[in-house]
Symmetry: C2
Subunit: 309 residues, 2 copies
């Protein structure tokens, strides 16, 4: 079983409006509701790939129930979310019909009480016993200590469970120092962590800071990996147009499934890049078309990277 942790789960709403104008009133023509938060997205992709996956983190109030109701309908996915008193946040993506552009509104998330955090830590340790790999994903809700991911990385390592960390800012900085097996920053997160805007130099630097392996997602340019076994670039066949929401989460799912299947790095990277590209191309944010994925997978170019800083 693969475990994904989403401390700040979300009910993701997509609204379609004609054109968003500040200080005007808008009729929303279409509403789509999905369970979200990075680790939940990763779990949905893993389940679609045929993996048994367990989701943990927090869920509370009506929005938390709405997420859990929807997760219950996904084959291969087990809900191990910890109930909290506060309300799970909503995120709202307002899509303009005219331009296709998106305006994002993100609620902060529920206040997590110390006792709730304690219940989660116990649940996490129980779940690690039957886990082949764990992904720690996304932002921290209010009340969770900034060193939370560092703590969760150490616990996973002490149980001998490979751990992937996908977050940003100070939680990433502290988490990296706890020596996770893999991090998957995007360009901005990597630059914020290392101070370098040169991806090759920055991935090397992130490894020196404690990450065993680093896979940076470079948007349309694909992935750049720095690992103990070597360095590679994975490039999708053509520049892809579409909605990048969830593309990074699909890449995480590809890397994690490749890890538990013990694929060689180039195959892991081809899978991750193809899943990410298939997600960009899908009509709905965060979904992917299995046929597009299979077709792209054979066409991702994975090349070794020779020189560095």
């Amino acid at each position: 079983m693969i475990l994904t942790v989403t401390l700040n789960t979300a009910l993701d709403l997509t609204y379609r409006v004609r054109s968003l104008r500040p200080h005007a009133s808008h009729r929303v023509s279409e509403v789509v509701e999905r369970p979200g938060g990075k680790g939940v997205n990763v779990a949905r992709v893993l389940a679609a790939l045929g993996h048994e996956v367990t989701v943990t983190g927090f869920a509370g109030a009506a929005t938390g129930r709405a997420i859990r109701d929807r997760l219950a309908g996904i084959d291969g996915l087990t809900d191990a979310l910890v109930p909290v008193a506060g309300a799970t946040r909503r995120t709202i993506a307002v899509v303009d019909e005219l331009s296709g552009d998106t305006t994002q509104l993100n609620e902060p998330g529920p206040q997590i009480e110390p006792a709730e955090w304690g219940v989660f830590l116990d649940r996490y340790e129980e779940l690690l016993a039957g886990t082949s790999a764990v992904a720690l994903c996304g932002s921290l809700p209010p009340g969770v200590p900034v060193g939370a991911y560092a703590n969760l990385v150490r616990t996973a390592r002490s149980h001998g469970v490979p751990v992937l960390l996908d977050t940003s800012g100070e939680p990433l900085r502290r988490g990296v120092a706890a020596r996770p097996d893999l991090i998957k920053p995007n360009t901005d997160e990597l630059a914020e962590l290392t101070g370098s805007h040169e991806p090759l130099r920055a991935t090397q630097d992130a490894r020196r800071r404690g990450a065993h392996a680093v896979v940076a997602s470079l948007g349309a340019e694909g992935l750049l990996a720095a690992t103990p076994e070597g360095r590679w670039r994975a490039t999708p066949p053509a520049r892809l147009h579409g909605n990048p929401t969830g593309a990074g989460d699909s890449a995480v799912a590809g890397l994690l499934s490749g890890l538990v299947e013990k694929l060689p790095w180039p195959e892991r990277l081809a899978r991750a890049a193809a899943l990410s590209a298939a997600t960009v191309r899908a009509p709905a944010a965060g979904e992917f078309d299995p046929a597009v994925y299979e077709e792209l997978r054979g066409r991702v170019a994975v090349t070794g990277v020779v020189s560095a800083a």
Copy 2:
């Protein structure tokens, strides 16, 4: 007991952001959730005034449950909402911290099935038996016939229950033809109904179209009433600054409570204008401060209107 009907109830969310910019990502710093829809707002004000009030209409899915959970905590208010399969809509008011301006996003509401509409009509007729006055408020959700309010007005009249109609567009036009006791249009709704932008002429015209009495809400200028007993203007003491959300609903609650208490028209209008002004002045949208209301009530100028078209 006073009955309010809200066919398109809403979970009203107020988001605070620094400044809304299209196609950017925003962190919401504060989220306030309230049960909404015009008739629900009217009922909350009536309950705060000490009246026994029953709320009916439709509620469905997680958002419907969230509304019902909140209504359960209000003294004097009875929940007689009819469950439906579709999800109760959300409305989102995004308030800019910098300017105080508000951007509104309104979901359309659930599709009401013919069987659900039938269940509502039976419930409505049962509830009318113990009702001293009924208010029919707001927009129609998808699936409800455009002549719905005309039908509900006739049913109330056949039970001898005074009926107030507060809606807009074609549902208002058809509802007025069914001869409600009172309508409370704002300036735009009155102009759309009558074709006249001159309020005095338009209120007279609306009476000719079927409304027994018409109370137009003219924003900061207060109320203009055309009734079989005479015509009046009710003007609050000073131009008020604040959030006008819910001010019209508070005016409806004032008119309805004055009706069941058999107050003379000038007193009803003073109450409605004071409640409306106290709502504009309150810090939270749709709330009112009882002390401000009491203070304003004695200072509303109600004057007879002599000439007309």
